[in-house]
Amino acid sequence: MAVAADSLTGGFAQPVYDSQAVFRLMMDGMARPGTVKTVATDVGAPAPLGLAAGAIALALCDHDTPVWLTAALQKSAVPGWVSFHSGATITREKAEARFAFIEAGTALPSFGLFASGTQEYPDRSATLVIEVAALDDGKALTLSGPGIAATRGMRVKGLPDGFTGQWTMNRALFPRGVDVVLTAGDRFLCLPRTVLITLAEG
């Protein structure tokens, strides 16, 4: 475990209100896939965890939700920080995790290794929080599905290789599947498993 001081600092200044605010952004984001949300309060997440990713961890994780971290995050102060502030245990088993955090520029683990729920209980699935370079620049994609009136445009810079291919396979599992949150610094957007992602034309 890395430097303890990094692990103990930060957190929500007002846990009750801050976690409610972050959750509401997330609820609205899941209900309206692809809309970009901005987290207003800093949580002092240790690098390389972004602000939005850190805030989501604090708002939703606790000792009922095993958290999976990439090798790089494992080596950072992040495991200590997440455990200290949320009470969540860090697991090495992808299939056990309810939340997984992936920093920018890392190879994307296969979605299929995470819990996708069962046909009877499709809710017992992981939520993957993936950091990208930017959410207002880069590759233009088009989203459609529940929560979107017709289509919604989305721009992502630094989307991991193979993401769209994996997403297509994930969507084919419906009602099973993982749900994804793309984060970039203090911003994030949600991609529930129902969303159809296509390359924007022109």
Binding site: V16, Y17, Q20, F23, T65, P146, G147, A149, D179
Partner: protein
């Protein structure tokens, strides 16, 4: 013993809220699917809206404006009681005006006024399982949803037609959400079913005693089950609201005397009051200022 009276913001403890919040997020990601959750014992009885109250308590923040209705009305006793509960434990602003509310908790109705983006409608649900009255066992109904095996429901509706000439379900009329899950819309009259379809608002459903949460995201297809030769149709009223003259709204029948006298008035009290404030008058209404 005085510390008995200190409760967290919005009553529930933070761990319970996180658990419910995670369930809500999964519910939104799987439209119409009932997410099991560890419903808590609330300080009001099961069957009186504990599921809706737990959802509202988990999503509400200090900036929200809450409206609570029962049977469409803001002044029915249970609506009054739940509104007072949140005003007390969350210290939030409350309103009776549909368009001013960010969260609307409801029992048995959807407001007449079209809901907008940013609004959340929270339904209180007694029996979340649409197949429950056809098959009482949870183990069976869960498998039916898993296999998307809804033949039993169609058989039931068709038996109605064979027996009565039309579908005899008038409320809690089953719908299919986003083309996958058959869902119970809670005991709203089927008159309200079309309002769920492609709504701009997020719709959340909470069943406390049965421990289920489910959701319809905005802009999601919600189709009432029917047959080609017997299409779904809603109730119609052959007269307008007696107070405000509104047509195409759901009406309550009010008995006026013991000689069969009766009148029909808007079930949505806010809608009725707003219309009257704008000068609309029905046959038994009076021009403005009459009702406080």
């Amino acid at each position: 013993m005085s510390d008995l009276a200190t409760y967290n913001f919005a009553y529930l403890d933070e761990q319970t809220k996180r658990m419910i919040r995670r369930a809500i997020l999964k519910a939104i990601a799987i439209p119409g699917y009932q997410v099991p959750f560890a419903s808590r014992e609330m300080p009001m009885p099961y069957g009186w809206g504990t599921g809706g109250v737990q959802i509202t308590a988990s999503i509400i923040g200090p900036d929200d404006v809450l409206k609570v209705i029962d049977q469409g009305a803001d002044d029915t006793t249970n609506a009054v009681s739940i509104r007072a509960f949140f005003a007390k434990v969350a210290n939030v602003a409350v309103t009776t005006h549909t368009h001013d509310a960010s969260i609307i908790q409801t029992r048995h109705r959807i407001p007449e006024k079209t809901l907008l983006e940013g609004q959340v409608l929270v339904y209180q649900v007694p029996i979340p399982e649409p197949l429950r009255f056809l098959e009482p066992r949870e183990t069976e109904t869960r498998t039916m949803h898993a296999l998307e095996e809804y033949g039993l429901m169609h058989v039931k509706l068709y038996e109605d037609i064979a027996l009565n000439g039309h579908i005899a379900t008038t409320y809690a009329y089953p719908v299919k959400v986003a083309g996958r899950y058959v869902m119970d819309p809670s005991p709203i009259p089927k008159f309200d079913n079309p309002k769920m379809h492609l709504s701009e608002a997020l719709q959340l459903f909470g069943a406390g005693r049965e421990k289920r949460i489910y959701a319809i995201p905005p802009h999601t297809a919600v189709v009432s089950l029917d047959f080609e030769d017997h299409p779904f149709e809603v109730q119609t009223f052959d007269r307008p609201c007696a107070l405000c003259g509104a047509e195409d709204v759901y009406l309550d029948e009010v008995i006026l005397d013991d000689k069969g006298g009766r009148m029909f008035v808007c079930s949505d009290t806010d809608h009725c009051e707003e219309r009257r404030a704008c000068g609309c008058v029905g046959e038994l209404g009076v021009k403005q200022e009459a009702a406080e």
